[in-house]
Symmetry: C2
Subunit: 224 residues, 2 copies
C-alpha cells in the first residue's frame, strides 16, 4: 500500500502509522477481521524496509504481523517481463505467522512466498484452516503459475486458500496479473475476481475442511 510511483523507502512507515490506523478503523467500522497486505515498514538503522502485512481484529487491534520471508530477485526479461531486485530495498522477515481467530487459524504469506511449499507445510503443522496470499504477480508468471500453485497449496495442505491480487496496469512499466482466487480444501475454485477492482464475497464451509481431512488424512501421513 503506497501511492503509485512513490519510492518504497519514502513510503515506509512504522507499525502504528497512518496505514495501520486506516486498517484498524476499517476493521472496527465494519466489525471484521481484516488482513492488510502489504505496506513498507520502516526499520530503525536500516536503509531497507520490511514488506509487512497486518491482521486486524474487529476491535481494530493488531492480531498478527507477517514480514515477507522470500524476496523476489528475478529476471523475466527473456519472456518479455521486468527485472526485479527486491533485496535491494527490502529486508526479509524470518518468522512464520499463523494467527488464531474464532473461525480457525490463518496462515499469512505474500506473493513470491507461494513458490515455497515448505512455508505452507509449517502453517498446516500449526493447524491453519486458511492460507492467505495477497499478491501482485507479474503477468508472465501469473498466466502459467498463479492458479496452479494456489490450488496445489490448498490440496496438499487441505485448507482454504484466500488470494487477493492486484490487477491491471499500474504505470507504463508495471502491470499485475490479478485474478484473485478463493479455493476450497479439495482444490476447487470457489470464486475468481474479474479483471478490475472488485469485492469478492465467499462462504467458506469449515465442515468441508473436516470432511476432506477425515476422508483423505494426508496431513497425518507425513513422514519427511
Amino acid at each position: 500500500m503506497r501511492r503509485e510511483g512513490l519510492p518504497v523507502r519514502e513510503a515506509a512507515q512504522p507499525i502504528g502509522g497512518s496505514i495501520t490506523e486506516a486498517l484498524a478503523e476499517m476493521a472496527r467500522e465494519h466489525g471484521i477481521w481484516l488482513l492488510g497486505g502489504t505496506f513498507a515498514e520502516e526499520i530503525p538503522d536500516d536503509e531497507r524496509v520490511f514488506n509487512t502485512s497486518l491482521l486486524l481484529d474487529p476491535k481494530g487491534e493488531i492480531a498478527a504481523c507477517y514480514r515477507k520471508i522470500h524476496l523476489f530477485d528475478v529476471d523475466l526479461s527473456a519472456s518479455g517481463g521486468g527485472v526485479f531486485r527486491e533485496s535491494d530495498t527490502f529486508r526479509p522477515g524470518d518468522a512464520v505467522a499463523v494467527a488464531e481467530t474464532p473461525f480457525g487459524a490463518i496462515g499469512m504469506s505474500v506473493c513470491y512466498d507461494l513458490r515455497f511449499p515448505e512455508l505452507y507445510r509449517e502453517m498446516a503443522q500449526r493447524d491453519a484452516s486458511f492460507l492467505c496470499v495477497p499478491s501482485a504477480f507479474a503477468p508472465e508468471t501469473g498466466r502459467d503459475h498463479w492458479e496452479i500453485l494456489l490450488r496445489a497449496r490448498a490440496i496438499e495442505n487441505q485448507a482454504f486458500v484466500v488470494a487477493p491480487a492486484q490487477c491491471g496496469r499500474h504505470s507504463p512499466d508495471r502491470a499485475s496479473y490479478g485474478r484473485s482466487l478463493v479455493i476450497d480444501p479439495w482444490g476447487l475454485i470457489l470464486a475468481q475476481a474479474v479483471d478490475k477492482p472488485c469485492a469478492v464475497v465467499v462462504d467458506c464451509d469449515l465442515g468441508e475442511l473436516e470432511r476432506v481431512r477425515s476422508s483423505l488424512p494426508a496431513l497425518t501421513h507425513r513422514r519427511l
Copy 2:
C-alpha cells in the same frame, strides 16, 4: 506389476526376481534407461511387502531402487470411490532416491507420494532434473488433483515431471484415472496420454531447465 486379481503377498518377489530380470532384459535390448514402477518386493520375516521401483541402466544393471514412503490409507466412499488400506499390506520405505544418469539426476516417487511436497524438495536439493511419479490414481482424486499437483511439483522445483499412469478399468471394483503427463520445468504440459494403453515419446530440452533456473532462481531463495 502383477497379474490383476492376484493378492499382493502372493505376487511378491525379491529384487533380482523375474520382474527385475524382465526389466533388465528390456533395458538391455533397447539400450535405454528404464524405470519400472512398481512391484511387490518380499521382505524376509515380514508379512508385509515393499512397494518398489527399480531404475535399470542400458546394460540392465540396477542403478537405483525406491521403496514407496507414503502409504495410501484413505476412504473415498463419500465421493463414490473405494476404501484403501495400503498399510495393511505394505511396509513403508524410508529413503529418498535420486539416481545419477548421463542426462541428469532422476528423483523417484510413486503415486500418493505426490501429495507430499517435502519429498520433491529433497530431490531438488539433490539437484534432480527429472521427478518421476509412476501412478495409479483413483478416478475421484485424479480428476481434481492429478494434473495440478504434478504441474506444481514441476514449477516449484523447476524440473521435468514424468508421470506415467495406469488407466482404464482393471476389474469390477477398480479403475485408474490415467492421463499420463510429461511436464516441463516452467509447468507446461509437453505431452498427455490418451485414455488407453499407449507410448508417449517426448524430447526434454535440458537447456530449458537451465533457462528457467537462471531467470527465476527460486531454488536458491529457499529460507525455511
